[in-house]
Symmetry: C2
């Protein structure tokens, strides 16, 4: 940065070609998804994209979210004025359509009965840790195309998929380019939490009426964003190098070893657990119908372990508890031992 020869000023708002090209090629084209570099918008992380993407839509758009849900989808729509009022009794906002995901439906949302304009889906899911099969995702794509809805597909955890038959991208489904935006994160995949890098995929075929959402997002980013730092984008490019890939694979394998250990250990200890196979999160049903926050207190006070109460993700998360595999193997084992000895 201190030398004219290597100095880089304002970056292209949609990201440098070197990064967009390799993403288009390796994350999509080589996996059978027909996505080109000019459909990819580099950002400073999936959280910003999750929060900002709703700006593309009118204030009277009806949004649908899974319940439990990553709070940013809801909060950003509340701030925009799209949610209606909060109902303390139901724990829900009046104008938001909630799609419960519980053990009863295998943590798979059911199609809304009312008309919705915008559907937030996150798979592998945060917080439940459950993935979606390709046929089920295809049904959502068909539903969206049929009903003129747009899917915001948050694939932040795709790198943790271990099973076959689980889509890494929504664009593996036929017709997704006319109904879906996909969001990706380098934080979960490559430890970029403190670096800030992600991207949105907005296909050129995706329209709202006559309007290209790709062109609208380009304009939005051009007016309200000034590009992701050059050095961070170069770091992102390194993730695709042979060395980067090896390191990412090793790191994910380590976390997934934790996930398997925690999942299996808890199951063997008699707990009911979900997730953890295609995701770094284990979703635990609290014993004896204990409330999420009561279980939080119980675990903290009796085992010195902290997790995330499911109720914090929405009313249908009540009675569940999220345990993360983003730790060391030693600490995962230690925590497991303590839980077993409760």
């Amino acid at each position: 940065m201190g030398h004219a020869e290597t100095f880089h000023g304002y970056a292209p708002e949609q990201g440098y070609d070197f990064l967009r090209n390799i993403i288009a090629k390796e994350d999509f084209q080589e996996k059978g998804c027909d996505i080109s570099a000019d459909e990819i918008f580099i950002s400073d992380g999936a959280k910003c994209d999750c929060g900002n993407i709703q700006e593309l839509f009118s204030l009277d758009s009806v949004i649908a979210v899974c319940d439990p849900v990553y709070p940013v989808y809801v909060d950003s729509n509340v701030m925009a004025g799209r949610s209606g009022l909060y109902n303390g009794e139901t724990g829900r906002f009046d104008k938001i359509v909630y799609m419960p995901c519980t053990a009863d439906n295998g943590f798979l949302p059911e199609f809304p009965k009312e008309h919705v304009d915008l559907i937030y889906l996150c798979f592998p899911n945060n917080p439940t840790g459950e993935a979606i099969k390709k046929a089920d995702l295809q049904a959502w794509v068909d539903f969206a195309n049929k009903n003129g809805a747009v899917i915001i597909y948050d694939a932040a955890y795709e790198a943790y998929i271990t099973e076959a038959g689980i889509p890494h991208s929504i664009y593996e489904c036929e017709g997704a380019k006319t109904c879906a935006i996909e969001l990706r994160s380098f934080s979960k995949k490559a430890g970029f939490t403190g670096m800030r890098l992600g991207f949105a995929v907005i296909p050129k075929d995706l329209k709202s009426g006559d309007v290209s959402l790709n062109a609208m997002w380009m304009r939005r980013q051009g007016s309200k964003y000034n590009g992701t730092p050059y050095i961070i984008q170069r770091a992102g490019e390194a993730v695709y190098s042979p060395e980067g890939k090896a390191q990412v694979a090793e790191q994910i394998a380590r976390y997934m070893k934790n996930a398997k250990t925690i999942y299996t250990g808890l199951k063997d200890a008699g707990f009911t657990v979900y997730g953890g196979v295609n995701s770094p999160y284990i979703w635990l049903k609290t014993p004896n119908d204990m409330k999420s926050w009561d279980f939080f207190d119980f675990l903290l006070n009796n085992a010195g372990i902290v997790g995330t109460p499911g109720a914090g993700f929405g009313p249908s998360g009540e009675g569940y508890f999220r345990i993360t595999a983003f730790g060391t193997y030693e600490n995962s084992l230690k925590a497991l031992d303590r839980i077993k000895n409760l």
Copy 2:
């Protein structure tokens, strides 16, 4: 980043203490402005802050902007739905209050006659390059406090102020903490265009009705932003080191030498010029009432020089032309020679 000992994950959304503390101390407290670290929000640049800050205000807020103006203030409000329709004849949006800044009023906006809720001021100004005197800024602070308006004060170019009596911060004015948000940039000051770093100052005394805008911005950033990269914030901290200060001073002196050379040269050649004394921009009145874009074509075709047509900044920029000092001294001289020989 590759080592556990030095790895930094999610940063505090409002920025690391090490950077907020030194900003509060050196940019404000040591200059007599009573601003504390918890009133400073680190961001990935002033452009994002300029674009996002309007989210704090309701959609029926009336905004006032200078004309000519940095386009982001207007565009972000257009996108939010606050502007009304565009009037092709006037080149203005129906619901936005424009405050013309021309040679006639010394490029100083006059108080709006109608009620306004939000006033965007940028000094030293982009594009006119003109600064505001402390007494004049104090009058704006008094106006805002009296009328319950909030000033968004864009001080991106404060490092280029060379004259005494020109405020570097709006908080040099009495009462500014109850009516003003200030935005700062590391891009202009320290060449961070490709690094992305800036900050917003939102005093705790600043309220809209009963609501603290500081608390609201904290919530907004916490929900829709995930912090500025750690390494960029460390680079920002280095700007305040003795070495960083020396480099910044040297760089600004170099640009201001360009500004002086261009300003004086154009003046000597018979052009009417403004700015350039407390700003890296020279604002040129086109000769013979030539339209901005005609002058652009003329200069490009006859001298191979590119500048920015004033009309691009708003209707009152028509007949003006912005010339930048952000170049090398050699190129500045070369351009000047070509203009003189037209």
